[in-house]
Symmetry: none
């Protein structure tokens, strides 16, 4: 009965895909189960065969979204061992990644954040553990900076604070891209960001 299991996974993925699109367009709270069902081309009841609740769909989407993002980052970082190149790759991947999706789609990040910040649901918070996510991301970036310092290419700075600042800058630029996708040449903003930052910490 292995094929059956594949089918289920396949259908689950289809529903998640539909959900992500609907979430992206309407925001999570305003997204209705019926919308997701219609977009997925299934009946309303069918969704409940694959997910316990709307919240579970959200959680699954979030996890997937995150996993994909992390993979991209990891891929980019594994290309080189040079700290400067790694930081450049980090910015490039983020900006390129954000630009890849259409503007509507990006709005979903806001909801992930918002939900993660305020959810009262314990299960939810375990899934959307923003604290942990950022802690790990900070450690990753701080490690790169630390490495740069050890190799003498970066000044001896407080790696954690600088990591936090750089990550913040990344998120903040993405926020502006969400708000006004056409306005600026975002690739250049990304370049400005990394140039300023690298100039700032290079020896």
């Amino acid at each position: 009965m292995a094929p059956k299991i594949v089918d289920r996974e396949q259908k689950r993925a289809e529903i998640m895909n539909a959900a992500i699109q609907v979430f992206a367009q309407n925001g999570i709270v305003k997204s209705k189960m019926i919308d997701i069902a219609r977009k997925a081309g299934v009946g309303k009841g069918t969704i409940y065969e694959y997910f316990r609740s709307k919240e579970e769909i959200f959680a699954a989407c979030y996890s997937q979204f995150n996993r994909q993002w992390e993979e991209k980052i990891q891929d980019a970082l594994s290309q080189t061992d040079d700290p400067e190149a790694q930081l450049r790759a980090l910015i490039t991947v983020s900006v390129e990644g954000a630009m890849q999706y259409n503007e509507d789609f990006l709005g979903i990040m806001m909801d992930f954040w918002a939900e993660g910040i305020r959810s009262k649901n314990e299960d939810m918070l375990r899934i959307i553990d923003l604290k942990n996510l950022y802690t790990e991301f900070r450690a990753l970036v701080a490690g790169i900076i630390q490495k740069g310092t050890e190799r003498g290419v970066f000044r001896a700075v407080d790696a954690k604070s600088y990591a936090s600042a750089l990550i913040g800058a990344l998120d903040g630029v993405m926020l502006q891209m969400i708000i006004d996708p056409q306005l600026l040449k975002w690739r250049e903003v990304g370049q400005a960001l990394i140039d300023a930052f690298l100039n700032g910490i290079k020896t």
Copy 2:
């Protein structure tokens, strides 16, 4: 001959205050009028004596929030004419301002952003004009950078892109403060941010 005399402005402010707290804790969509009423210590109907709708409360809160923030920024910038000092002041004021509020309170910013990004309501969008807000803020910061370049203290960079990057960094750091207020010595992160940035653009 004389009805109960009430300071309507005062009461309006009290309700807005209650609303901000409730919005901050639950998010705007999940905040119920009855919650706001209870928090304000008034009846459900009373709110409608002061605001036409839930949306109007939100808009009023947003405007107030923004106005206060802008005042702080303007105050800080007017203290000096030196570009470097102004950029430092900008970061300091933002970080200090964010730390001043309690953590719950800051969460409301997320909803302001989220609402601004996705609201379909024309009236709402006129009020929460994020595009315009950021455009103006970018112009302000770009002006300072430009001034620095002209005075020879900053390198000749693309002022707009750098402004965008700096603002993004500010927002991003604030986001992390929201998510994990205790974690880091945020003042130091602010310092790291401005040090890296200034190092990066100073001649």
Copy 3:
């Protein structure tokens, strides 16, 4: 303290006047106390100094409305003793009376009827006793027809049925006047009505 009493009656009348106008424009159910208060130029609470409830205002207006109408009818009938002339006067007074008011104003009659037909409130039904009103009106008209028959100017018909038919015709024409005040030369319709009817029963 007699003047005080006069003042109270005066104010009560003013409020009723305002109420009738508001009822006429919006219908009774959709008329708000605040509208009546504003139209009367008094405070919302003041109304309750003169009327126990919205229902009581309605009842008072209805009674007044009816009393005035009855007076007009009685006035007209007392001008002559001739049955044919009296029936003509009846139609004329009704049509002229209806035309006197503006169209909006007439709509109130519908609500009086509707309320009278369906009110579940015992007190209300005692006041808006449509059954009794029509019974009396039928008796009045039947009396005139009877008188005509006895004097040999009308055929020997079932006076009650003919009275009912005539009254119905009157109401029905007024209904059309309400619906479409401009459409027809309503005076001529009144003439047609009475001509047909009198031709029909005259010997």
Copy 4:
């Protein structure tokens, strides 16, 4: 694979039926969705599966009501080509039709009229176009009278005015039937009406 199969038209009709009963008993404004739901033996939400709003239920009921009435009239008139017989049929059908329904049921006509007279809602007014309804009905009756005049059986009267008067008489008698269904032998009142009228216009 197959959901519960329901005859949606059937269910829609059942809800309309319940709605008509509730409207008839309480009047439209005082009828609550929950009352209709309970009378129909369904949940509150179920109604909204079949009607978009309370207003839509009302409109559907009104249209149905009217269509049925018109059919009756048309049926009766098609039985004969004789003007006098047609006018007699008109009155008979109306009175018989009105008597067929129970008294509560008829009260709904008042609300249809009242709503038609005062509704501010454009969509509603398109549905309850009383002006047009009466205009058409007047044209129909005037045509019969005209035909009678041409054939020399009726006097040369202003057909439109006489039609309006006859229709008014019909409505007015029905109103009295609503108010006091037991009181009079309404068939005889109908006879009186048509006798008087026909006597009045016959040559």
